[in-house]
């Protein structure tokens, strides 16, 4: 089973890659020991969004489905966590709220995905319909300011957002600060490795085959719609995980984390990083989130202008993604140095321009 950690669909293999992975992981685990708690909280905040980016990478880079609806499912699970945590009372019930809210997002993705995928929507329209649904949810939640908008004791509160839910709790212990950070790191490692195994497994090969040519995959006997729906549900579920963790982290959520420009952010991260590889997405998204947060302190608008400029620059200069491009250059250089003259055959295959 662990053989699947390496394969044709993911870059990075061999001792070199995994020792780098372990060094980074060790660094991440040691980080709270010598950083102050404010920085650790900030780092946990960056890590929240990584799930959403990995989910989009799976759908877009591997499945060829460009979903603009990551923040839709982020919002469903984020609000879902809030409503459930308030209604079920705090304490350990918050863990159940987290799981249920992610399941809720996946069910929503299943319904929306069924209509789109069985309707044969693909390419540009897939993005347009998911974005429309996202914006409608944001508008809807934006006008729920009145006291009549509540689910049990949980008030939705319109643009000001919902607040007052407990953070993740086990017994009497609030998972906050370093504890939350370690939970995030553990979840990211699990999700990252699980996704690597998924895309290198038989299912992953069908997903990639569908991206390359849906008709051919269908002719080979696969019901591509089921695989697409599965990809969409997993990818959107990861966005939901981000949403639930976000609400738990800050104990509030507002419609502005669903609508524009928030909806564009996952696209920028993944496009900039290199959508066709999970590792590139992981690294690139983290770097972008870090940079974005640094600039946001001074001016949020300036940070968003920069994000827009990065998106434009990526599609114009490096459609495969900057991080992936740089990573490939480095890998080629390394391999070239080791066996000069050899043709670097397995440095990873580029996917075709469209998709």
């Amino acid at each position: 089973m662990f053989k699947l950690l390496e394969g044709p669909q993911t870059l990075g293999r061999g001792k070199m890659f995994w020792s780098c992975f372990l060094v980074v992981l060790a660094g991440a685990l040691a980080y709270p020991l010598f950083a102050d708690s404010y920085d650790v909280g900030n780092f946990a905040y960056f890590l929240i969004w990584i799930f959403m980016a990995l989910g989009l990478c799976l759908m877009w880079g591997y499945g060829g489905m460009l979903s603009f609806g990551q923040t839709l499912f982020f919002g469903i699970a984020g609000y879902g966590y809030g409503v459930l945590a308030i209604n079920m009372g705090g304490g350990s019930a918050t863990i159940a709220a987290l799981v249920l809210s992610v399941v809720l997002a996946m069910i929503a993705a299943g319904i929306l995905g069924y209509f789109m995928i069985w309707g044969g929507i693909n390419g540009i329209f897939f993005g347009i319909v998911t974005l429309s649904a996202t914006l409608v949810l944001a508008f809807f939640l934006g006008q729920t300011a009145g006291p009549e908008w509540h689910i049990g004791p949980a008030r939705l509160n319109g643009f000001n957002g919902m607040k007052g839910m407990d953070p993740l709790t086990v017994g009497d212990f609030y998972i906050e600060g370093s504890a939350l950070y370690y939970v995030m790191v553990a979840l990211i490692v699990i999700v990252y490795l699980a996704l690597r195994m998924l895309v290198n497994s038989g299912i992953g090969n069908v997903i990639v085959a569908t991206r390359e040519n849906p008709q051919r995959a269908e002719m080979l006997g696969y019901d591509v719609r089921k695989y697409q729906l599965l990809t969409f549900v997993i990818g959107s579920g990861l966005a939901g995980l981000s949403g639930a963790l976000y609400t738990s982290w800050g104990q509030f959520i507002t419609p502005s984390s669903i609508g524009l420009p928030a909806a564009a952010m996952p696209i920028v991260w993944v496009a900039f990083s290199g959508r066709s590889d999970l590792t590139a997405t992981l690294v690139g998204s983290f770097l972008l989130l870090f940079g974005f947060q640094t600039i946001t302190v001074y001016s949020q608008q300036a940070a968003l202008v920069l994000m827009g400029a990065l998106l434009l620059a990526t599609v114009m200069l490096a459609p495969q993604g900057f991080v992936l491009g740089i990573g490939k250059l480095a890998a080629d250089w390394w391999q070239g140095r080791r066996r000069r003259g050899d043709v670097v055959a397995d440095a990873g295959r580029l996917q075709p321009e469209e998709s």
Partner: protein, 288 residues
């Protein structure tokens, strides 16, 4: 009784005008090049700001609106030349590029202009039928929407440019081989599309608050109209708008704006399940 009927028509006309005006520009660009212009909302915003700026300088409203549409059209041609042109073979990348552009424009406007600008009031004038009063300007908007449809029909069906443009839509490579300058056709069509977006902003500028993010209020309507219209935008857009306006009007009247919008979205999702190619596919099939 006739007053009620007129009231119904008035509500329908209001939504219909909104759908047509906000979608026409997007539909032209999509139909012509297969490109969804994500900065569509920003061209609408541009039209609205230019209109209000000119009116505040003392230019009469109607002239300001025409100038605003022309400005948006010219900026569109420029954007086509600088950005969109590179992506005709990669429609998804053009969508991302225009989205990046939209982020840059909206946030820069927030930085430079600030959140709100002094608006201009809706032009006065109302009339009464039976017990109801109606705003004249809303009917003017409906008239403009019909005029836009008629204008597009004439441009694309009755002029030489239209013939070449439709040929380019059907098969760009073949049209090019026959001597049509497809690059120029694309640029002009993109300009027409963004000009129509600017016109939409200009026409709605007096009726709404101007904020740099106002484009977002139009994009859902324009997207779903184009999606439902289907691939043949010249045929599909108007029936799609009629259909969606009916649903929207019925829901608006009984449950309010937001349910109207949600209902419209649900209708769209149900329709693409039944008619993935959009309404125009049915019409094309009937026509054969």
């Amino acid at each position: 009784m006739s007053a009620e009927l007129f009231s119904l028509f008035y509500q329908f006309a209001d939504v219909f005008a909104f759908l047509i005006l906000s979608a026409a520009g997007l539909a032209i660009v999509f139909g012509m090049m297969g490109v969804i212009n994500m900065a569509h909302g920003e061209f609408i915003m541009c039209g609205a700001y230019v209109t209000v700026g000119l009116v505040n300088l003392g230019v009469p409203l109607a002239i300001a609106q025409i100038l605003a549409a022309l400005t948006a059209g010219l900026i569109g041609v420029l954007v086509e030349f600088l950005v969109v042109r590179r992506f005709y073979k990669r429609p998804l990348d053009s969508l991302l590029a225009t989205w990046g552009l939209s982020l840059i424009v909206t946030q820069s406007m927030l930085l430079i202009v600030g959140s709100a600008v002094r608006g201009i009031g809706t032009p006065e004038g109302s009339f009464a039928i039976g017990g109801y009063t109606f705003s004249t300007y809303r009917l003017v908007l409906f008239g403009c929407a019909v005029a836009v449809l008629a204008g597009l029909y004439i441009i694309f069906m009755k002029t030489r440019f239209g013939v070449i443009a439709r040929a380019t839509m059907q098969n760009a490579a073949m049209a090019k081989a026959l001597g049509a300058r497809t690059g120029r056709i694309y640029a002009i069509s993109f300009g027409i599309g963004t000009g129509l977006a600017g016109l939409c902003g200009a026409l709605y500028a007096p009726t709404m608050t101007l904020i740099p993010t106002m484009g977002a209020t139009f994009v859902v309507e324009s997207f779903v109209t184009v999606v439902i219209g289907g691939a043949n935008v010249l045929l599909g857009t108007a029936p799609a708008a009629v259909f969606l306006a009916m649903i929207r009007m019925a829901l608006n009247a009984s449950y309010g704006q937001i349910i109207g919008q949600i209902g419209m979205l649900v209708a769209v999702i149900l329709i693409i399940r039944v008619l993935p190619e959009g309404l125009s596919s049915v019409l094309v099939r009937r026509g054969r």
